[in-house]
């Protein structure tokens, strides 16, 4: 077999493997949860189809409130994040501030959701850092006051917690999209026509940018409406958002609750779909309403005011995140740290030393799993993208949708079913299963980060190489891959970070035998010792940060004599 045929074969197979990897677990998992929702789970005595679980579910007090809470916090946080990102991009694109923020993006993205939420909770709680800073000299508080934040009944603290994580994600996603929709050129045209910067962006760039952000936004909406860890830390409790309740029911010792829990998981799926539908409708509405506005020819719309707001809001979001992390760092060196002491005194290394012994194994396993899952994902994504180039047409919409499937379907809806399937087909719990499970969640992010750079790669490079007689493998290894080194490494770093943060897939598919810093962090967090939680949260953040650093430094070293191959300072 000639190498060219082999290349074609590999490139032809990889996309299908990708599709299988993404769709089989999700679909099987959903089906696995669907059966118990209708009373079918023989091992627990469910041997006929019935609507009883649904009846029980609808009799749960406060169900409507739970659903409303999930919908409102999810949609509100997504809308706020989008608004903030758009205003910020519009006002500050290509300014020094923008470049500074851009540099912080990747590390911020590496902060696991739960860690950010814990840090934020400590910052804003009645006994938190802000209150400590003002007590007792301003407030007169000797002991923490009793106000309900975080965990307010409106879900405001939950929305805030989601926004500080979603803004960096959307910013990162828009980086690639901005180039793809030729934002610079559009802006130049609009600015020469006399539009103020923000107005130029909103009227000139947004119509091209939004379609490229649509799927990442849907992922944000899906995540925000179904988050469990953030909502457990920052959300209200009477009642909690739906996803939190579903996990509670799934964990209820009374096994008969599993049926209702499965129905709840299905309801969560419907709820997330509803949220997406609402978002889509709003999207249409905004598009229709703004059509006239885009063409009315007015050159400004309160640019300065909005820029001020964007500046302030972005500072607040980033500042909150930094302060939350600083608070965590302090807890990791704290002894007994009572209210209202602003700093833990004296600091101690005791917590780190105590934890050090237990850290070694989880760190290695985390690295192993994350590297393997990332490698699998990068190979599959590159294969899918190469296939796209070869066929000279972009991916079909349905294939795009499958890519997003693991991000759009709430994990409570499919993970239990997935464990059942794992047992059914006899896959041993352990490293292998965990790596595959991680890859399901890592792959979409790798694809998201890599696709645009790959599609923008000038085809003439490979044409030239081919005409000089290089075979397809050689072209790939010696021309295309080196040209793509920076984006591939960045995508790998993103994937690595995603893998490090996975909790449920690790614990469920590994039967708890695969111990990562995240599984340790979550089980220790259930013990409520902030010092330990802080140590593990910092590790959760440190590992991906190292990944991002490598992604930045390696190309600099490799291309030290080919400076034009390094990413520009755009």
């Amino acid at each position: 077999m000639s190498t060219a045929v082999a290349y074609r074969l590999v490139v032809g197979v990889l996309p299908w493997l990708t599709i299988a990897l993404l769709s089989v677990p999700v679909v099987a998992g959903v089906l696995g949860a669907l059966a118990p929702a209708f009373g079918w789970l023989p091992v627990l005595g469910g041997e006929r189809l019935t609507l009883v679980p649904w009846r029980q579910l609808f009799a749960v007090p406060g169900l409507v409130d739970m659903a409303r809470l999930s919908l409102v916090t999810g949609l509100a946080s997504a809308a706020l994040s989008l608004g903030l990102v758009v205003l910020f991009l519009g006002s500050f694109l290509h300014t020094p501030l923008y470049r500074r923020v851009q540099r912080w993006l990747s590390p911020l993205l590496a902060v696991p959701h739960a860690a950010a939420a814990i840090g934020l909770a400590f910052l804003l709680a009645p006994s938190g850092w802000v209150a400590r800073g003002l007590s007792p000299w301003v407030t007169g508080w000797q002991y923490p006051p009793d106000f309900a934040f975080p965990g307010d009944a409106w879900g405001l603290s939950l929305i805030l917690g989601l926004v500080i994580k979603e803004v960096p994600f959307l910013l990162l996603m828009s980086l690639a999209a901005l180039v793809q929709c030729q934002a610079r050129e559009r802006l130049t045209v609009a600015r020469t026509l006399g539009y103020r910067p923000l107005t130029a962006f909103l009227k000139g760039v947004m119509p091209g940018l939004y379609p490229l952000l649509r799927l990442p936004l849907y992922a944000v909406v899906a995540f925000a409406t179904s988050t469990v860890d953030v909502a457990m830390i920052l959300g209200p409790t009477t009642p909690p958002p739906l996803a939190v309740s579903v996990v509670g029911w799934l964990n209820d010792p009374a096994l008969s609750m599993r049926f209702m829990a499965s129905a709840g998981a299905m309801l969560q799926l419907l709820l997330t779909l509803t949220a997406l539908l609402i978002w889509w409708t709003l999207e249409r509405l905004v598009a229709r309403v703004s059509r006239g506005w885009c063409r009315d020819g007015r050159r400004q719309c309160g640019d300065r005011w909005l820029a001020g707001i964007a500046w302030l809001a972005m500072r607040t979001v980033l500042g909150l995140m930094m302060a939350a992390l600083a608070g965590l760092a302090l807890w990791s060196v704290a002894g007994y740290w009572p209210f209202p002491a602003f700093l833990p005194w004296p600091p101690t290394a005791h917590n780190w030393l105590n934890a050090a012994d237990d850290l070694v194994a989880p760190v290695w396993q985390t690295l192993g799993v994350a590297l393997a899952a990332t490698l699998v994902s990068v190979v599959l994504v590159l294969g899918a993208l190469e296939a796209e180039t070869q066929r000279r047409r972009p991916m079909r919409p349905w294939a795009q949708l499958i890519l997003y499937l693991p991000l759009l379907v709430p994990s409570v809806a499919f993970l239990f079913g997935l464990v059942m399937m794992q047992a059914q087909v006899g896959v041993r719990p352990g490293l292998g299963a965990v790596i595959i499970g991680h890859a399901v969640f890592v792959l979409p992010y790798v694809f998201l980060s890599l696709a645009e750079s790959h599609r923008r790669l000038d085809p003439r490079w490979s044409q030239q190489a081919r005409s000089l007689g290089a075979g397809p493998w050689r072209v790939f290894w010696h021309v295309r891959l080196p040209l793509l080194l920076t984006p591939v490494l960045t995508a790998a770093a993103v994937g690595f970070a995603v893998s490090v943060g996975q909790y449920l897939p690790t614990i469920l598919l590994g039967a708890g035998r695969v111990v990562t810093v995240t599984t340790e962090a979550v089980s220790l967090a259930s013990g409520g010792d902030r010092r330990l939680t802080a140590i593990y949260a910092l590790l959760q953040l440190l590992l991906p940060a190292i990944g991002f650093m490598l992604a930045m430094l390696v190309p600099r070293y490799v291309f030290r004599r080919r400076r034009d191959l390094l990413p520009g300072t755009d």
């Binding site: 023989p42 091992v43 627990l44 005595g45 749960v60 007090p61 406060g62 409130d65 709680a125 009645p126 006994s127 002991y143 923490p144 009793d146 309900a148 965990g151 009944a153 457990m232 209200p236 409790t237 009477t238 509670g248 799934l250 964990n251 010792p253 009374a254 096994l255 599993r258 704290a334 002894g335 007994y336 740290w337 009572p338 209210f339 105590n354 237990d358 239990f416 464990v419 059942m420 794992q422 047992a423 059914q424 006899g426 041993r428 719990p429 614990i507 469920l508 039967a511 708890g512 035998r513 599984t519 340790e520 089980s523 220790l524 259930s526 013990g527 409520g528 010792d529 010092r531 330990l532």
Partner: protein
Amino acid sequence: MKDIRRWLMVVLALLPTASHAYELSDWTSVTQAAKGQTVYWNAWGGDPRTNAYIDWVAEQVKQRYAIDLEHVKVGDTAEAVTRVVAEKAAGNEDQGAVDLIWLNGENFAALKNNDLLYGPWAEQLPNFSLTAPGQNPEVREDFTLPTEGYEAPWGRAQITFYYDSARVDEPPRSIPALLDWAKAHPGRFTYPQPPAFLGTTFLKQALLALTEHPKALYEPVDQADFDAVTQPLWNYLDALHPYLWREGESFPSGGPQMRQLMGDGALSLAFTFTPSAPAAAVLDYQLPPTTRSYFLDNGTLGNVHFVAIPSNAQHKAGALTVANFLLSPEAQAHKQDLAVWGDTTVLDMQRLSPSQREMFASDSRAAESLPPQSSGDTLREPHPSWIEPLEQAWRQRYGAQ
């Protein structure tokens, strides 16, 4: 290298192995069969002290029985239960990934009622007789359900209140007194939100103290008039909630968060299920050094916690051997040491030799934070069938505000 070995072991485990037959009546055959097995023990991993103790157990059983004990740290026992259910649902009858579970009460009842447990075995453990089950019936009873040898006792727990003596002069010594105290100190007490284990226990404790029909609680719930029995509890909570932390509009997620709130100074009175936990938390810099603990005058709820083996566990012999070691005087004494964990033993001191008894001598550090030894009757746990209706009624009244 180690990973390669692990992979090899996985591969080997997949091969149909010559079954290590053992007879429960012949204990040497059990320890023989256990040799070289890897036992996956699913136990809550939220407490570093407990984790450290389990690490110690792992070293011991490695030395003594050549067993590799792996602590599978779960955030919630239900995760282990879920796995057993999923495996059984998929027809996995003897290759289960969970070999030993730390559990009690509702989890035990659920697993046993669904035939998901291996047994009976507990009373055949050589060390079981050291618990003197004749004199201490609670080691054979889990929330009133007879264990029938499907789980082996491991430790004891009892509701213990603790407070910051720098802020509280005289803590309330009964459930009715607690209401008056809360009125005098609004916002400084709360309880975890049911169905969190400790929250439900608070409901049961209050119910036992308040109801006019305490006997009914020890029978299955469907034999009683639920409304009549529980009405005093709801009246009490209606009166109490406005004076709780956040005016009873939200609740901590469990005991750990409650301890965190105590550490932050948001609360000045709280409770736990482990009598030594407040003292341990003081040593661990989590609670103020002025923390003191006590039992209520009329007694508090107490129970025993156990270990059980799922019916599809792959390494039953190893699990049995570990369960027996957990009941040995040495392991129990090490566990009770406040510097290690501080979990009360289930052994009966009368059955031990003087030298064995000596191992249980108490530690003096942070002793003043410990509850007084003598006081405090232990109230028995009500029948487990009360739990679900109580939680549901609570949810109905306070769960969605």
